[in-house]
Symmetry: C2
Subunit: 118 residues, 2 copies
Amino acid sequence: MQKINLSQKLGLFNEYWSPKIVGEINDSYAKLVKLKGEFVWHSHEKEDELFLVIRGKLVIRLKDRDIELEDGEFFIVPKGVEHMPVANEEVHVLLLEPKTTLNTGNVRNERTVDAEWI
Amino acid sequence: MQKINLSQKLGLFNEYWSPKIVGEINDSYAKLVKLKGEFVWHSHEKEDELFLVIRGKLVIRLKDRDIELEDGEFFIVPKGVEHMPVANEEVHVLLLEPKTTLNTGNVRNERTVDAEWI
């Protein structure tokens, strides 16, 4: 039971596309992640997923449009909606999603990672 | 299904201690709230509650210590833990908590408000 400083936690890792757990809220985790480049198209069958940009710019591609986020902006990808995060430059993101959420959604592939606590 | 800009939403209201819903994630709401002064001691029997400071300084008093938060810091008050938010100056906070969460926790009193969407 301690406070979390986002910048301090973000200083603890450098890998991209590897969410780190920083908090537990009921059935969900708060995670920090650094993104750069393109991810893969995926969806989460049963889980909404919140992306809050802390630093940088993030594009969340949807099938019918792009959502462009800057710091201080968030977007919630509803369950079942296909999306692909894209970051032209490094971006730092706070994620909020159920503990069951896999980063690659309904499939396991070479981009799948299991989130760890930092 | 649209992005949320925290500053824009915070510009839409001025009341203190009156959380506004800005997003729905699974069984939880993301809410924005402006705080100034002292709240009341309360706890949430079944709900963890996340406080992320967007601007300003927030103290979350616990029975055995104070948690002092600045912008870019969050604290999760676990279910059942008595707490009292205190803000000497105006502070802007993003809350994450189950939809069932009442601002005054397990009691309804003169400080109780029902959160509305903005």
